[in-house]
Amino acid sequence: MTATPLLKVTDLAIEFSTPQGRVRAVDGISFDVYENETLGIVGESGCGKTVTGLSLLGLIPSPPGRIAAGSIELAGRNLAKLDEAAMREVRGGEISMIFQEPMTALNPVFTVASQMTDVIIRHKGLTRAQARREAIDMLGKVGIPAPARRLDDYPHQMSGGMRQRVMIAMALACGPKLLVADEPTTALDVTTQAQVIELIGQLQREFRMAVILITHDLGVVAETCQRALVMYCGRIAEQAQIEPLFRSPRHPYTHGLLDSIPRIRDQRLTQLPTIAGRVPDLLNLPPGCRFADRCTRAQEDCRTAEPELTQAGQSAFACYHPIGHQPAEPVA
């Protein structure tokens, strides 16, 4: 891609101090996000995907956490170096975030109206009456029926799906360039999840914003993203466009993850494929590849040095013994 990226993350490392020592939850990851694009970040719990998302908005709780290295450039400005006051302008303005649990992300003691107008007044400098009109407009856009009436509801008066819509409305109220969505549909039922996914896609097209979708659900990624990063243990295992990533995964972890999803099949299997073992302890990482102990393709070299993320063909992957060979260059 030749266009300049909207967001450029370079060698980002995020560290937490724990009583047992320092832990690198994210350890040297780099990726770009382009305007109007949806990038998926997938991985299992503890892989660092949420921490990565939080760091983009300067929301890493500090202490115990801190950005230990790397840069986060949004349209040329390094967010990792901004102070809290400057970051507050970015947050909710240029970058917004929606969270997994709308009940805990919304304040239960304020009405939707007061929470939404606060954001709009702060970032757009409108009067309360103008902000209220914008809020009603936004609630209508996210599909809340009778928005003028629901605006004065408290969060508990709404269903889970509606609360998630309110959160999306709040996040988009100031027209952000980038939306970070952390497991936005995980707490929702499948039929509601389908509605919310549809809504995010539709709003993205309307506002031409970039979306980073953080999720453990590969099905959601396949249906919504153009590109995805697969994270394992704080590192990027593989990064590619959706098609090659799902059709011909190169990293054995991506392959294992795709294989072990229970999916509706024509024939019932007697055994589901699994990934043996479990994720290593971040405090006590193996010397070589972090996935080596669970990998069926691991050899001697995997246990000595950690593989770097390298581009080959359509994907970038961090593996010495990737699955499949690149097809020979077609003769033009």
Binding site: V190, A194, Q195, A222, E243, S260, P262, I264, R268
Partner: protein, 330 residues
């Protein structure tokens, strides 16, 4: 008793929760969590119960093994009505029915070691001598793929997947005929989830245990079930063999549910049936068919008449659907 008699027979089971309010805390309404559910489960088979949150699937599971007292209807275990048995009389039956819970963090006592947790059921039901019990506890861990070295550890020292293994070992300790598994894998990561699903399948094959497997994930349900029941607002709306249900779902709700699952196949280009709105409140369920408010195929009579079950399958392999689209009276 004929050979075909089911291990578990549930007849018109109901569980209503009273809603109290007003000055004198009078009952002002009822939440119909489970409303007239009938199902059968044969020995060694798995009945998969699927539905969205609040549809009453967990309450149904808990009412069957009487962790909650049913409001009406009957539960028969091996032909014996256990619905009204007193505490003492229930004890021998309770031993034959165990439960695996969703949250492996909340369902194990944090103050008990693995050995204590696994021993408790054996002590309560006085199985074997204390020496034998000790031996059995180590064996249980072996069965679920854990080492006896962990016996003196506490739950917080384990990962979610390992805790779920301990929960399964506890359910197995009394050699039950029936296990109610309530969302046993939904709190786990996919790679661990498949390990636990395989373990459950192995145990079922080896020990011939019948499972009532409750989940919201249709793919998980397909993987484990012989028969599947789809629940909506306290009622079963479709019950069929897993093969029949997945190859040709009949009820509009089942179809919408299936089409809503995001598929890990880019560009699968499926047509999604988008349901409008939210699930109505079980305190005030819609008249007629409970699904008519969201149903893309709703007709005028759906709001008035409650649909009855119609068998669209054969005598041997029934495919029961409760929907006016298939009724005989149309």
């Amino acid at each position: 008793m004929s050979e075909a008699a089911p291990l578990l027979q549930v007849d018109g089971l109901r569980k209503y929760f009273p809603v109290r309010g007003g000055l004198f805390r009078r009952v002002v309404a009822q939440v119909r969590a489970v409303d007239d559910v009938t199902l059968q489960l044969r020995r060694g088979q798995t009945f998969g119960l699927v539905g969205e949150s609040g549809c009453g699937k967990s309450t149904l599971g808990r009412s069957i093994i009487r962790l909650q007292e049913p409001t009406g209807g009957r539960v028969l275990l091996d032909g014996t009505d256990i619905t009204r048995l007193g505490r003492q009389a229930l004890l021998p039956y309770r031993r034959r029915m165990q439960m695996i819970f969703q949250d492996p963090y909340a369902s194990l006592s944090p103050r008990r070691t693995v050995a204590q947790t696994l021993r408790e059921p054996l002590d309560i039901h006085q199985i074997g001598t204390p020496k034998e019990r000790e031996h059995q506890v180590s064996q249980l861990l072996d069965v679920v793929g854990m080492s006896a070295r962990v016996l003196n550890r506490y739950p917080h020292e384990f990962s979610g997947g390992q805790r779920q293994r301990i929960g399964i070992a506890r359910a197995l300790s009394l050699k039950p005929d029936l296990i109610v598994a309530d969302e046993p894998v939904s709190a786990l990561d996919v790679s661990v989830q498949s390990q636990i699903l395989n373990l459950i399948a192995d145990l079922q094959r080896e020990h011939g245990i019948a499972f009532l497997f409750i989940a919201h994930d249709l793919a998980v349900i397909q993987h484990v079930s012989d028969v599947v029941g789809v629940m909506y607002l306290g009622k079963l709306v479709e019950v069929a063999d897993a093969t029949a249900l997945y190859s040709s779902p009949k009820h509009p709700y089942t179809r919408a549910l299936m089409s809503a699952i995001p598929q890990p196949e880019p560009g699968s280009g499926r047509q999604r049936i988008m349901l409008e709105g939210d699930v109505p409140s079980p305190m005030n369920p819609p008249s007629g068919c409970p699904f008519h408010t969201r149903c893309p195929d709703a007709m005028a009579k759906c709001a008035e008449l409650t649909p009855q079950f119609t068998n669209l399958g054969s005598e041997r392999s029934p495919h029961a659907v409760s929907c006016h689209l298939y009724g005989h009276d149309s």
